[in-house]
Amino acid sequence: MTKQQANWSPYDNNGGTCVAIAGADYCVIAADTRMSSGYNILTRDYSKIIQLADKSVMASSGFQADVRALQKVLASRHLLYQHQHNKQMSCPAMAQLLSNTLYYKRFFPYYAFNVLGGLDNEGKGCVFTYDAVGSYERVGYSSQGSGSTLITPFLDNQLKSPSPLLLPAKDAVTPLSEAEAIDLVKTCFASATERDIYTGDKLEIIVLNASGIRQEYMELRKD
């Protein structure tokens, strides 16, 4: 009798894709609303985006049970911060908090792939991208989740400077207007939906700017 391997896993992958793009005075955060398990669709209408603070919005793909637990921990920590400091957390502060929270569970990680988007203290758009254990970086745009391998090369081509070797990109912000960024995001998801089976159903877009927060939906392929 051959040695039996453990075949129960505490994790599951519910699929989905998230994207965030930072502009000069706005930030666009988007995610699809499909939740799946294996070859099945669990629901077509699940939001992966949560507003953590006035100017911080997080989108997470991966294992949604872990994502939900992570969201609750962050919301609770933000409430404590508000009581202690009498103000909302800034986006860079929230970014650090998220990193620490993820690393806290370094040896039994949250199976969550996050992008944090918002406005920094100067009102400029900021996007922070994470791995599952909290390593993070401020960037001009990012994509996580099952469709990220399809979307990131397209965003690199449209937004990135020609080569990091020739011209290091100092500015972590894209030169696009808000409308152009939204158009780009819609195109990214329509294309990713064509080729990734875990992405589809509906696209939820959140736009943060000086006038506040706005939500938009777009239909995606349902097959």
Partner: protein
């Protein structure tokens, strides 16, 4: 003498020669190459005048869609068609092979092919490969003995049924058939039911998607309805379009002349030495 004996052609069936070497490579950490599987929802049903086959058109490689509009209903004979699920290469190869065999058989016998002939050829081939040819088929056609519908599993077992579904979307499609199938459906009712079953697979199974292909076979006539339904158009096309002006940048250019291969001897009689 011994050398000649070793060079005899293989007798068919699965050759286990490389298994030991493959196991050794996997132990050393080599990742086995993945196959292009068709995910798939394929169905068939018998109606009043014959057989209707249906299939989706998505081919997947793991979580990625490799082909958005592939053809899963394969030609076997003028009166017999076969839907294939499983490894795409296997379904193509096995249906092509049996289709050729049927043609030769038609020349030999001078008669129209029978569905049971295709069935026997397919099942004996799949059985001799012990399930390693990963092809799950829905075979349907109309011959002198009437309409026939069969399912064939990768290990070589078969079933004869009035309605059948195979592939990862088979449960979604079968749910529709079990609710709505009855004997003696008309052609239009049959096509509508098959489309509904395939759509159920397309929308509820992630391994199936895109369009619906249908094939209606009746006595002496067949109708191949490629892309009968297109329920999944692209949802957003940017009006302004995108340009891809950034080319791969040249970092460095270095030209290395190849060494002269031929020695050219000036004048004289080079050939004479």
């Amino acid at each position: 003498m011994i050398r000649e004996a070793m060079e005899m052609p293989p007798k068919g069936g699965f050759s286990f020669d490389l298994c030991k070497r493959n196991d050794m490579l996997v132990k050393k950490g080599l990742k086995e190459p993945s196959f292009l599987k068709t995910g798939t929802t394929i169905v068939g049903l018998i109606f009043k005048d014959g057989v209707i086959l249906g299939a989706d058109t998505r081919a997947t490689e793991g979580p990625i869609v490799a082909d958005k509009n592939c053809e899963k209903i394969h030609y076997m004979a003028p009166n017999i068609y076969c839907c294939g699920a499983g490894t795409a290469a296997d379904t193509e190869a096995v249906t092509d092979m049996v289709s050729s065999q049927l043609k030769l058989h038609r020349y030999h016998t001078g008669r129209e092919s029978r569905v049971v002939t295709a069935l026997s050829l397919l099942k004996s081939h799949l059985f001799s490969y012990q399930g390693y040819v990963s092809a799950a088929l829905v075979l349907g056609g109309v011959d002198v003995t009437g309409p026939h519908l069969h399912t064939i599993y990768p290990h070589g077992s078969t079933d004869t049924l009035p309605f059948a579904t195979m592939g990862s979307g088979s449960l979604a499609a079968m749910a529709v058939f079990e609710s709505k199938y009855r004997e003696g459906l008309t052609r239009d009712e049959g096509v509508k039911l098959v489309s509904e079953a395939i759509c159920s697979g397309i929308f509820n199974d992630l391994g199936s998607g895109s369009n619906v292909d249908i094939c209606v076979i009746t006595q002496g006539e067949k109708e191949y309805l490629r892309n009968h339904m297109l329920p999944n158009p692209r949802t957003y096309i940017s009006e302004k379009g995108y340009s891809f002006s950034k080319k791969t940048e040249v970092l460095r250019t270095k030209i290395t002349p190849l060494r002269e291969m031929v020695e050219v001897i000036e004048g004289g009689d080079a050939m004479e030495e």
